[in-house]
Protein backbone atom coordinates (compact mmCIF):
# COMPACT_ATOMS: atom_id res chain seq x y z
CA UNK A 1 0.00 0.00 0.00
CA UNK A 2 2.18 2.85 -1.22
CA UNK A 3 1.22 6.40 -2.04
CA UNK A 4 2.87 8.79 -4.45
CA UNK A 5 2.64 12.51 -3.68
CA UNK A 6 3.57 14.85 -6.52
CA UNK A 7 3.79 18.52 -5.56
CA UNK A 8 4.51 21.53 -7.70
CA UNK A 9 6.53 19.56 -10.23
CA UNK A 10 8.04 21.57 -13.06
CA UNK A 11 10.47 20.31 -15.67
CA UNK A 12 12.27 22.52 -18.12
CA UNK A 13 14.42 21.49 -21.04
CA UNK A 14 16.35 24.61 -21.86
CA UNK A 15 13.70 27.22 -22.48
CA UNK A 16 10.91 24.69 -23.03
CA UNK A 17 8.66 23.93 -20.10
CA UNK A 18 7.72 20.28 -20.45
CA UNK A 19 5.75 20.03 -17.19
CA UNK A 20 4.13 22.95 -15.44
CA UNK A 21 3.14 22.82 -11.80
CA UNK A 22 1.93 19.26 -11.56
CA UNK A 23 0.10 18.31 -8.36
CA UNK A 24 -1.10 14.75 -8.04
CA UNK A 25 -1.97 12.31 -5.30
CA UNK A 26 -1.70 8.70 -6.41
CA UNK A 27 -3.72 6.62 -3.98
CA UNK A 28 -2.62 3.09 -3.28
CA UNK A 29 -3.78 -0.03 -5.05
CA UNK A 30 -5.63 1.49 -7.96
CA UNK A 31 -5.08 1.06 -11.67
CA UNK A 32 -4.39 4.48 -13.13
CA UNK A 33 -4.31 5.38 -16.80
CA UNK A 34 -1.98 8.22 -17.74
CA UNK A 35 -3.23 9.53 -21.05
CA UNK A 36 -1.97 12.29 -23.25
CA UNK A 37 -1.05 13.10 -26.78
CA UNK A 38 2.46 12.60 -28.11
CA UNK A 39 4.74 15.08 -26.42
CA UNK A 40 2.23 16.04 -23.74
CA UNK A 41 4.62 15.10 -20.96
CA UNK A 42 3.56 11.59 -19.90
CA UNK A 43 6.96 9.96 -20.14
CA UNK A 44 8.61 13.00 -18.57
CA UNK A 45 6.33 12.67 -15.56
CA UNK A 46 6.95 8.95 -15.28
CA UNK A 47 10.70 9.50 -15.56
CA UNK A 48 10.49 12.03 -12.73
CA UNK A 49 8.52 9.68 -10.50
CA UNK A 50 11.16 7.00 -10.99
CA UNK A 51 14.30 9.08 -10.53
CA UNK A 52 15.33 8.74 -14.16
CA UNK A 53 15.46 12.51 -14.55
CA UNK A 54 15.43 15.35 -12.06
CA UNK A 55 12.78 18.05 -11.58
CA UNK A 56 13.43 21.72 -12.19
CA UNK A 57 11.14 22.45 -9.24
CA UNK A 58 8.81 20.61 -6.90
CA UNK A 59 9.06 17.22 -5.30
CA UNK A 60 7.83 13.69 -5.56
CA UNK A 61 7.54 11.45 -2.52
CA UNK A 62 6.72 7.79 -2.12
CA UNK A 63 5.27 7.08 1.32
CA UNK A 64 6.54 10.43 2.46
CA UNK A 65 10.13 9.97 1.27
CA UNK A 66 11.49 11.92 -1.66
CA UNK A 67 12.33 9.68 -4.60
CA UNK A 68 15.43 11.61 -5.60
CA UNK A 69 18.41 9.27 -5.28
CA UNK A 70 16.60 7.33 -2.57
CA UNK A 71 17.12 3.56 -2.74
CA UNK A 72 14.52 2.77 -0.14
CA UNK A 73 11.73 4.69 -1.84
CA UNK A 74 12.74 3.44 -5.27
CA UNK A 75 12.84 -0.19 -4.21
CA UNK A 76 9.06 0.03 -4.09
CA UNK A 77 8.80 0.86 -7.77
CA UNK A 78 9.21 -1.11 -10.94
CA UNK A 79 9.25 0.88 -14.14
CA UNK A 80 8.71 -0.79 -17.49
CA UNK A 81 10.02 1.63 -20.08
CA UNK A 82 9.58 1.82 -23.78
CA UNK A 83 13.33 1.75 -24.27
CA UNK A 84 15.33 -1.39 -23.65
CA UNK A 85 17.77 -0.91 -20.81
CA UNK A 86 18.92 -4.48 -20.40
CA UNK A 87 22.31 -5.57 -21.74
CA UNK A 88 21.74 -6.90 -25.27
CA UNK A 89 23.87 -9.95 -24.65
CA UNK A 90 21.97 -11.15 -21.60
CA UNK A 91 19.62 -14.09 -21.94
CA UNK A 92 15.98 -13.76 -20.89
CA UNK A 93 16.42 -16.15 -17.98
CA UNK A 94 19.40 -14.11 -16.79
CA UNK A 95 17.31 -10.95 -16.92
CA UNK A 96 14.76 -12.72 -14.75
CA UNK A 97 17.46 -13.94 -12.40
CA UNK A 98 18.98 -10.50 -11.91
CA UNK A 99 15.54 -8.95 -11.48
CA UNK A 100 15.02 -11.34 -8.61
CA UNK A 101 18.24 -10.10 -7.06
CA UNK A 102 17.05 -6.54 -7.05
CA UNK A 103 13.39 -7.18 -6.29
CA UNK A 104 13.28 -9.66 -3.43
CA UNK A 105 9.54 -10.21 -3.87
CA UNK A 106 10.07 -11.37 -7.45
CA UNK A 107 7.99 -14.46 -8.23
CA UNK A 108 10.19 -16.63 -10.45
CA UNK A 109 7.80 -19.56 -11.00
CA UNK A 110 5.12 -17.08 -12.02
CA UNK A 111 7.53 -15.31 -14.37
CA UNK A 112 8.54 -18.59 -16.00
CA UNK A 113 4.91 -19.59 -16.33
CA UNK A 114 4.15 -16.29 -18.07
CA UNK A 115 7.09 -16.84 -20.43
CA UNK A 116 5.62 -20.17 -21.37
CA UNK A 117 2.16 -18.69 -21.88
CA UNK A 118 3.48 -15.99 -24.15
CA UNK A 119 5.85 -18.26 -25.98
CA UNK A 120 8.93 -16.37 -24.83
CA UNK A 121 11.97 -18.60 -24.97
CA UNK A 122 14.08 -17.97 -21.92
CA UNK A 123 17.27 -18.96 -23.68
CA UNK A 124 17.08 -16.13 -26.16
CA UNK A 125 19.32 -13.12 -25.82
CA UNK A 126 17.76 -9.70 -25.39
CA UNK A 127 19.18 -8.51 -28.71
CA UNK A 128 17.51 -11.42 -30.51
CA UNK A 129 14.03 -10.47 -29.35
CA UNK A 130 11.60 -8.75 -31.69
CA UNK A 131 10.00 -5.49 -30.56
CA UNK A 132 6.97 -7.43 -29.39
CA UNK A 133 8.88 -10.02 -27.43
CA UNK A 134 11.07 -7.32 -25.95
CA UNK A 135 7.93 -5.72 -24.58
CA UNK A 136 6.65 -9.09 -23.40
CA UNK A 137 9.84 -9.78 -21.50
CA UNK A 138 9.76 -6.40 -19.79
CA UNK A 139 6.05 -6.75 -19.00
CA UNK A 140 6.65 -10.16 -17.44
CA UNK A 141 9.44 -8.78 -15.26
CA UNK A 142 7.15 -5.94 -14.21
CA UNK A 143 4.28 -8.25 -13.29
CA UNK A 144 6.48 -10.76 -11.49
CA UNK A 145 8.41 -8.08 -9.59
CA UNK A 146 5.63 -7.72 -7.02
CA UNK A 147 6.71 -4.17 -6.38
CA UNK A 148 4.01 -2.12 -4.59
CA UNK A 149 4.07 0.38 -7.45
CA UNK A 150 4.36 -0.78 -11.04
CA UNK A 151 4.58 1.71 -13.88
CA UNK A 152 4.02 0.72 -17.49
CA UNK A 153 5.01 3.04 -20.34
CA UNK A 154 3.40 1.74 -23.54
CA UNK A 155 3.41 -1.90 -22.39
CA UNK A 156 1.85 -3.39 -25.51
CA UNK A 157 4.15 -1.82 -28.04
CA UNK A 158 4.62 -4.26 -30.89
CA UNK A 159 2.33 -6.90 -29.42
CA UNK A 160 -0.11 -8.70 -31.71
CA UNK A 161 -3.81 -8.74 -30.82
CA UNK A 162 -3.61 -12.12 -29.08
CA UNK A 163 -0.69 -11.09 -26.91
CA UNK A 164 -2.35 -7.83 -26.03
CA UNK A 165 -5.40 -9.69 -24.73
CA UNK A 166 -3.15 -12.03 -22.80
CA UNK A 167 -1.32 -9.09 -21.27
CA UNK A 168 -4.49 -7.39 -20.08
CA UNK A 169 -5.74 -10.67 -18.62
CA UNK A 170 -2.45 -11.26 -16.84
CA UNK A 171 -2.46 -7.69 -15.54
CA UNK A 172 -6.00 -7.96 -14.19
CA UNK A 173 -5.37 -11.34 -12.57
CA UNK A 174 -2.11 -10.13 -11.03
CA UNK A 175 -3.74 -6.97 -9.69
CA UNK A 176 -6.75 -8.83 -8.36
CA UNK A 177 -4.69 -11.40 -6.50
CA UNK A 178 -1.93 -9.03 -5.38
CA UNK A 179 -3.33 -5.51 -5.16
CA UNK A 180 -0.78 -2.86 -6.05
CA UNK A 181 -0.61 0.62 -7.48
CA UNK A 182 -0.45 0.42 -11.25
CA UNK A 183 0.11 3.34 -13.61
CA UNK A 184 -0.28 2.62 -17.31
CA UNK A 185 0.56 5.05 -20.05
CA UNK A 186 -0.88 3.93 -23.35
CA UNK A 187 -2.12 5.27 -26.63
CA UNK A 188 -4.57 2.39 -27.03
CA UNK A 189 -7.21 4.07 -24.90
CA UNK A 190 -10.23 2.03 -25.83
CA UNK A 191 -8.40 -1.21 -25.13
CA UNK A 192 -7.57 -0.28 -21.58
CA UNK A 193 -10.66 1.81 -20.78
CA UNK A 194 -12.40 -0.98 -18.86
CA UNK A 195 -9.25 -2.03 -17.05
CA UNK A 196 -8.59 1.39 -15.57
CA UNK A 197 -10.08 2.60 -12.35
CA UNK A 198 -8.91 6.20 -12.65
CA UNK A 199 -7.72 8.25 -15.54
CA UNK A 200 -5.27 11.15 -15.55
CA UNK A 201 -5.07 13.26 -18.69
CA UNK A 202 -2.07 15.43 -19.45
CA UNK A 203 -2.20 18.16 -22.04
CA UNK A 204 0.71 20.42 -22.91
CA UNK A 205 2.49 19.75 -19.65
CA UNK A 206 -0.48 20.24 -17.33
CA UNK A 207 -3.01 17.92 -15.77
CA UNK A 208 -6.42 18.61 -17.31
CA UNK A 209 -8.29 15.82 -15.62
CA UNK A 210 -8.01 13.28 -12.84
CA UNK A 211 -11.14 11.28 -12.23
CA UNK A 212 -12.52 7.81 -11.84
CA UNK A 213 -13.47 6.30 -15.17
CA UNK A 214 -16.93 5.48 -13.90
CA UNK A 215 -17.61 9.08 -12.89
CA UNK A 216 -16.11 10.47 -16.05
CA UNK A 217 -18.10 8.25 -18.36
CA UNK A 218 -21.20 8.88 -16.25
CA UNK A 219 -20.97 12.56 -17.05
CA UNK A 220 -21.32 12.19 -20.77
CA UNK A 221 -23.03 10.00 -23.32
CA UNK A 222 -23.51 9.66 -27.05
CA UNK A 223 -26.69 10.48 -28.90
CA UNK A 224 -26.98 9.18 -32.44
CA UNK A 225 -29.49 8.88 -35.20
CA UNK A 226 -30.91 10.92 -38.04
CA UNK A 227 -29.21 14.30 -38.11
CA UNK A 228 -32.29 16.49 -37.68
CA UNK A 229 -33.58 14.39 -34.81
CA UNK A 230 -30.21 14.49 -33.11
CA UNK A 231 -30.15 18.26 -33.44
CA UNK A 232 -33.57 18.49 -31.78
CA UNK A 233 -32.30 16.42 -28.92
CA UNK A 234 -29.23 18.59 -28.59
CA UNK A 235 -31.24 21.79 -28.18
CA UNK A 236 -30.15 23.54 -25.00
CA UNK A 237 -27.50 20.98 -24.14
CA UNK A 238 -23.75 21.12 -23.86
CA UNK A 239 -21.98 18.84 -26.23
CA UNK A 240 -18.48 18.19 -27.55
CA UNK A 241 -17.54 16.81 -30.88
CA UNK A 242 -19.35 14.35 -33.08
CA UNK A 243 -19.38 12.57 -36.40
CA UNK A 244 -21.57 12.86 -39.44
CA UNK A 245 -22.02 10.32 -42.19
CA UNK A 246 -24.66 11.36 -44.70
CA UNK A 247 -27.82 11.86 -42.69
CA UNK A 248 -26.48 9.93 -39.73
CA UNK A 249 -25.04 11.90 -36.86
CA UNK A 250 -23.49 10.92 -33.55
CA UNK A 251 -22.62 13.52 -30.93
CA UNK A 252 -21.03 13.40 -27.49
CA UNK A 253 -23.33 15.09 -24.98
CA UNK A 254 -21.96 16.47 -21.73
CA UNK A 255 -24.38 15.80 -18.92
CA UNK A 256 -25.91 13.13 -16.78
CA UNK A 257 -28.67 11.01 -18.30
CA UNK A 258 -32.09 11.35 -16.71
CA UNK A 259 -35.29 9.41 -17.23
CA UNK A 260 -36.66 12.45 -18.99
CA UNK A 261 -33.72 12.32 -21.39
CA UNK A 262 -34.37 8.68 -22.12
CA UNK A 263 -38.02 9.35 -22.79
CA UNK A 264 -37.17 12.22 -25.10
CA UNK A 265 -34.69 10.07 -26.95
CA UNK A 266 -37.24 7.38 -27.49
CA UNK A 267 -39.73 9.95 -28.75
CA UNK A 268 -37.22 11.45 -31.17
CA UNK A 269 -36.09 8.00 -32.22
CA UNK A 270 -32.46 8.64 -31.43
CA UNK A 271 -30.21 6.17 -29.68
CA UNK A 272 -28.37 6.82 -26.45
CA UNK A 273 -25.19 4.97 -25.79
CA UNK A 274 -22.09 5.05 -23.67
CA UNK A 275 -19.46 7.56 -24.62
CA UNK A 276 -16.12 6.07 -25.57
CA UNK A 277 -13.26 7.10 -23.35
CA UNK A 278 -11.13 7.58 -26.43
CA UNK A 279 -13.64 9.98 -27.98
CA UNK A 280 -13.84 11.97 -24.76
CA UNK A 281 -10.08 12.04 -24.61
CA UNK A 282 -9.79 13.32 -28.15
CA UNK A 283 -12.26 16.12 -27.57
CA UNK A 284 -10.58 17.06 -24.29
CA UNK A 285 -7.13 17.22 -25.82
CA UNK A 286 -7.87 18.85 -29.13
CA UNK A 287 -6.70 22.43 -28.95
Amino acid sequence: MSTIAIKGICKDYGTTRALDNIDLEIEPDKIYGLLGRNGAGKTTLLNLITNRIFPTAGEIAIDGESVVENDRALSKVFYMTEANLYPPGLRVREVLGWSKEFYPGFDMPYALWLCEQFGLKTGKRVKELSTGYGSIMKAIVALASNAPIVVFDEPVLGLDANHRQMFYRALIANYSQHPKTIIISSHLIEEIAEVLEEVIIIKDGSIVLKQSVEELLGQAYTVSGEAAQVDSYLAGRKFAGGEELGKFKAVTVLGVLTEGDRALAQKLDVELSRVELQKLFISLTNS
Binding site: T50, I53, N70, D71, S75, L85, S99, F102
Partner: protein, 237 residues
Amino acid sequence: MSRILKVAKWQLYDARKAVFLFYLVIASVLALITILNVLYGDGPGKMGGVDVNEVVFCFVLGLNSYTGAFKFTQANSITRRSLFAATLVSFAGIAAFMTLASIIVGTILKSIMPYEGMMMQLYRIEARPTQFIWGFALNTFAIFLGWMITMVYYRSSRLQKTLVSLSPAFLIMGLIYLNNRTGGRLGAALIRAMRKALGFADMINPNPLVAVFSFFVAAACCAALGFLLIRRAPIRS
Protein backbone atom coordinates in the same frame (compact mmCIF):
# COMPACT_ATOMS: atom_id res chain seq x y z
CA MET B 1 23.47 -8.85 0.51
CA SER B 2 23.18 -5.13 0.28
CA ARG B 3 22.07 -3.48 -2.89
CA ILE B 4 25.51 -2.05 -3.56
CA LEU B 5 27.17 -5.43 -3.34
CA LYS B 6 24.58 -6.91 -5.67
CA VAL B 7 25.34 -4.27 -8.27
CA ALA B 8 29.06 -4.90 -7.82
CA LYS B 9 28.39 -8.60 -8.29
CA TRP B 10 26.64 -7.81 -11.54
CA GLN B 11 29.49 -5.61 -12.73
CA LEU B 12 31.96 -8.40 -12.07
CA TYR B 13 29.66 -10.84 -13.83
CA ASP B 14 29.45 -8.49 -16.78
CA ALA B 15 33.23 -8.17 -16.99
CA ARG B 16 33.92 -11.87 -16.81
CA LYS B 17 33.88 -12.50 -20.54
CA ALA B 18 36.32 -9.74 -21.32
CA VAL B 19 38.68 -10.79 -18.55
CA PHE B 20 38.49 -14.42 -19.60
CA LEU B 21 39.23 -13.50 -23.20
CA PHE B 22 42.17 -11.39 -22.09
CA TYR B 23 43.77 -14.24 -20.21
CA LEU B 24 43.02 -16.62 -23.01
CA VAL B 25 45.03 -14.38 -25.32
CA ILE B 26 47.78 -14.01 -22.75
CA ALA B 27 47.89 -17.75 -22.25
CA SER B 28 48.14 -18.34 -25.99
CA VAL B 29 50.93 -15.82 -26.35
CA LEU B 30 52.76 -17.38 -23.41
CA ALA B 31 52.38 -20.81 -24.91
CA LEU B 32 53.78 -19.52 -28.18
CA ILE B 33 56.69 -17.85 -26.45
CA THR B 34 57.42 -20.97 -24.44
CA ILE B 35 57.49 -23.08 -27.56
CA LEU B 36 59.78 -20.63 -29.34
CA ASN B 37 62.00 -20.48 -26.30
CA VAL B 38 62.25 -24.24 -26.15
CA LEU B 39 62.99 -24.46 -29.84
CA TYR B 40 65.45 -21.63 -30.11
CA GLY B 41 66.66 -21.63 -26.51
CA ASP B 42 68.85 -19.03 -24.91
CA GLY B 43 68.09 -16.08 -27.10
CA PRO B 44 69.49 -12.65 -26.49
CA GLY B 45 68.25 -10.18 -23.94
CA LYS B 46 65.19 -10.17 -21.81
CA MET B 47 61.49 -10.32 -22.40
CA GLY B 48 59.00 -8.22 -20.65
CA GLY B 49 55.84 -6.26 -20.59
CA VAL B 50 52.94 -8.65 -20.36
CA ASP B 51 51.67 -6.48 -17.56
CA VAL B 52 51.61 -3.41 -19.78
CA ASN B 53 48.80 -5.04 -21.72
CA GLU B 54 46.93 -5.50 -18.52
CA VAL B 55 47.03 -1.78 -17.76
CA VAL B 56 45.68 -1.05 -21.21
CA PHE B 57 43.02 -3.68 -20.68
CA CYS B 58 41.97 -2.08 -17.41
CA PHE B 59 41.73 1.28 -19.12
CA VAL B 60 39.52 -0.09 -21.86
CA LEU B 61 37.41 -1.95 -19.31
CA GLY B 62 36.85 1.32 -17.48
CA LEU B 63 35.87 2.98 -20.74
CA ASN B 64 33.25 0.36 -21.50
CA SER B 65 31.90 -0.09 -18.04
CA TYR B 66 29.64 2.87 -17.55
CA THR B 67 26.87 2.86 -20.15
CA GLY B 68 25.67 -0.70 -19.73
CA ALA B 69 25.81 -0.54 -15.95
CA PHE B 70 23.96 2.76 -15.84
CA LYS B 71 21.11 1.56 -18.02
CA PHE B 72 20.88 -1.72 -16.15
CA THR B 73 20.76 -0.11 -12.71
CA GLN B 74 18.21 2.42 -13.91
CA ALA B 75 16.05 -0.45 -15.16
CA ASN B 76 16.12 -1.89 -11.66
CA SER B 77 15.39 1.44 -9.96
CA ILE B 78 18.80 1.70 -8.32
CA THR B 79 20.23 5.10 -7.44
CA ARG B 80 23.31 6.56 -9.07
CA ARG B 81 24.86 6.76 -5.62
CA SER B 82 24.62 3.01 -5.21
CA LEU B 83 26.01 2.47 -8.69
CA PHE B 84 28.99 4.65 -7.86
CA ALA B 85 29.68 2.79 -4.63
CA ALA B 86 29.35 -0.54 -6.42
CA THR B 87 31.70 0.71 -9.13
CA LEU B 88 34.35 1.49 -6.51
CA VAL B 89 34.03 -2.02 -5.13
CA SER B 90 34.02 -3.87 -8.43
CA PHE B 91 36.84 -1.85 -9.96
CA ALA B 92 39.00 -2.48 -6.91
CA GLY B 93 38.17 -6.14 -7.20
CA ILE B 94 39.10 -6.34 -10.85
CA ALA B 95 42.30 -4.38 -10.35
CA ALA B 96 43.31 -6.64 -7.50
CA PHE B 97 42.51 -9.79 -9.42
CA MET B 98 44.46 -8.76 -12.46
CA THR B 99 47.45 -7.64 -10.47
CA LEU B 100 47.51 -10.99 -8.74
CA ALA B 101 47.18 -12.76 -12.05
CA SER B 102 50.04 -10.82 -13.59
CA ILE B 103 52.31 -11.62 -10.65
CA ILE B 104 51.54 -15.30 -11.15
CA VAL B 105 52.12 -15.01 -14.89
CA GLY B 106 55.36 -13.16 -14.25
CA THR B 107 56.51 -15.88 -11.89
CA ILE B 108 55.77 -18.59 -14.41
CA LEU B 109 57.60 -16.73 -17.14
CA LYS B 110 60.60 -16.07 -14.98
CA SER B 111 61.00 -19.78 -14.44
CA ILE B 112 61.34 -20.51 -18.13
CA MET B 113 63.07 -17.46 -19.52
CA PRO B 114 64.67 -14.14 -18.61
CA TYR B 115 61.46 -12.22 -18.05
CA GLU B 116 61.16 -8.83 -16.44
CA GLY B 117 57.88 -7.21 -15.47
CA MET B 118 57.31 -3.49 -15.66
CA MET B 119 58.16 -2.96 -12.06
CA MET B 120 61.47 -4.77 -12.30
CA GLN B 121 62.39 -2.82 -15.36
CA LEU B 122 61.62 0.50 -13.75
CA TYR B 123 62.55 0.07 -10.13
CA ARG B 124 64.76 -2.96 -9.96
CA ILE B 125 62.62 -4.23 -7.09
CA GLU B 126 61.26 -7.71 -6.74
CA ALA B 127 59.41 -7.89 -3.43
CA ARG B 128 56.00 -9.39 -4.07
CA PRO B 129 53.95 -7.17 -1.72
CA THR B 130 55.44 -4.05 -3.30
CA GLN B 131 54.80 -5.48 -6.72
CA PHE B 132 51.20 -6.13 -5.79
CA ILE B 133 50.44 -2.72 -4.36
CA TRP B 134 52.18 -0.95 -7.22
CA GLY B 135 50.36 -2.96 -9.86
CA PHE B 136 47.08 -2.63 -8.01
CA ALA B 137 47.43 1.15 -7.77
CA LEU B 138 48.33 1.46 -11.45
CA ASN B 139 45.46 -0.76 -12.59
CA THR B 140 43.03 1.10 -10.37
CA PHE B 141 44.15 4.37 -11.86
CA ALA B 142 43.80 2.97 -15.38
CA ILE B 143 40.25 1.71 -14.78
CA PHE B 144 39.07 4.93 -13.18
CA LEU B 145 40.70 6.99 -15.89
CA GLY B 146 38.81 5.11 -18.57
CA TRP B 147 35.60 5.29 -16.59
CA MET B 148 35.95 9.01 -16.00
CA ILE B 149 36.53 9.69 -19.68
CA THR B 150 33.32 7.85 -20.56
CA MET B 151 31.44 9.80 -17.87
CA VAL B 152 32.69 13.06 -19.31
CA TYR B 153 31.51 12.09 -22.76
CA TYR B 154 28.13 10.84 -21.47
CA ARG B 155 27.38 14.08 -19.68
CA SER B 156 28.63 16.31 -22.45
CA SER B 157 26.60 18.08 -25.06
CA ARG B 158 27.78 17.77 -28.64
CA LEU B 159 29.74 20.98 -28.39
CA GLN B 160 31.34 19.92 -25.15
CA LYS B 161 32.23 16.55 -26.61
CA THR B 162 34.07 18.22 -29.46
CA LEU B 163 35.95 20.47 -27.07
CA VAL B 164 36.86 17.56 -24.82
CA SER B 165 38.09 15.51 -27.78
CA LEU B 166 40.25 18.37 -28.96
CA SER B 167 41.56 19.28 -25.55
CA PRO B 168 44.54 16.89 -25.53
CA ALA B 169 45.71 18.40 -28.78
CA PHE B 170 45.24 21.92 -27.44
CA LEU B 171 46.95 20.99 -24.22
CA ILE B 172 49.98 19.57 -25.97
CA MET B 173 50.22 22.48 -28.36
CA GLY B 174 49.89 24.87 -25.45
CA LEU B 175 52.59 23.11 -23.51
CA ILE B 176 54.96 23.04 -26.46
CA TYR B 177 54.40 26.74 -27.02
CA LEU B 178 54.95 27.62 -23.38
CA ASN B 179 57.95 25.36 -23.28
CA ASN B 180 59.53 27.26 -26.13
CA ARG B 181 58.71 30.55 -24.50
CA THR B 182 60.46 29.51 -21.29
CA GLY B 183 63.44 28.23 -23.22
CA GLY B 184 62.76 24.64 -22.33
CA ARG B 185 62.43 25.28 -18.59
CA LEU B 186 58.72 24.39 -18.42
CA GLY B 187 59.29 21.07 -20.09
CA ALA B 188 62.17 20.25 -17.80
CA ALA B 189 60.15 21.23 -14.75
CA LEU B 190 57.24 19.05 -15.84
CA ILE B 191 59.50 16.09 -16.45
CA ARG B 192 61.09 16.56 -13.04
CA ALA B 193 57.65 16.68 -11.41
CA MET B 194 56.59 13.49 -13.17
CA ARG B 195 59.79 11.75 -12.13
CA LYS B 196 59.19 12.75 -8.55
CA ALA B 197 55.61 11.56 -8.66
CA LEU B 198 56.74 8.18 -9.89
CA GLY B 199 59.30 7.87 -7.18
CA PHE B 200 62.40 8.74 -9.14
CA ALA B 201 63.45 11.69 -7.02
CA ASP B 202 66.40 9.58 -6.14
CA MET B 203 67.53 8.11 -9.46
CA ILE B 204 69.72 5.48 -7.85
CA ASN B 205 67.16 4.12 -5.42
CA PRO B 206 63.74 4.90 -6.86
CA ASN B 207 60.85 4.52 -4.49
CA PRO B 208 57.84 2.78 -5.97
CA LEU B 209 55.66 3.65 -3.00
CA VAL B 210 55.68 7.26 -4.09
CA ALA B 211 54.25 6.12 -7.40
CA VAL B 212 51.66 4.09 -5.53
CA PHE B 213 50.59 7.22 -3.72
CA SER B 214 50.46 9.21 -6.96
CA PHE B 215 48.40 6.54 -8.70
CA PHE B 216 45.90 6.38 -5.86
CA VAL B 217 45.59 10.15 -5.78
CA ALA B 218 45.06 10.24 -9.52
CA ALA B 219 42.50 7.43 -9.28
CA ALA B 220 40.69 9.27 -6.50
CA CYS B 221 40.56 12.44 -8.60
CA CYS B 222 39.09 10.52 -11.51
CA ALA B 223 36.57 8.84 -9.22
CA ALA B 224 35.62 12.17 -7.66
CA LEU B 225 35.07 13.83 -11.01
CA GLY B 226 33.11 10.81 -12.15
CA PHE B 227 30.95 11.02 -9.06
CA LEU B 228 30.14 14.67 -9.69
CA LEU B 229 29.16 13.76 -13.22
CA ILE B 230 27.10 10.70 -12.32
CA ARG B 231 25.12 12.40 -9.56
CA ARG B 232 22.60 13.94 -11.90
CA ALA B 233 23.11 11.87 -15.02
CA PRO B 234 19.83 11.68 -16.94
CA ILE B 235 18.64 8.62 -18.76
CA ARG B 236 19.10 9.02 -22.51
CA SER B 237 17.04 7.28 -25.14
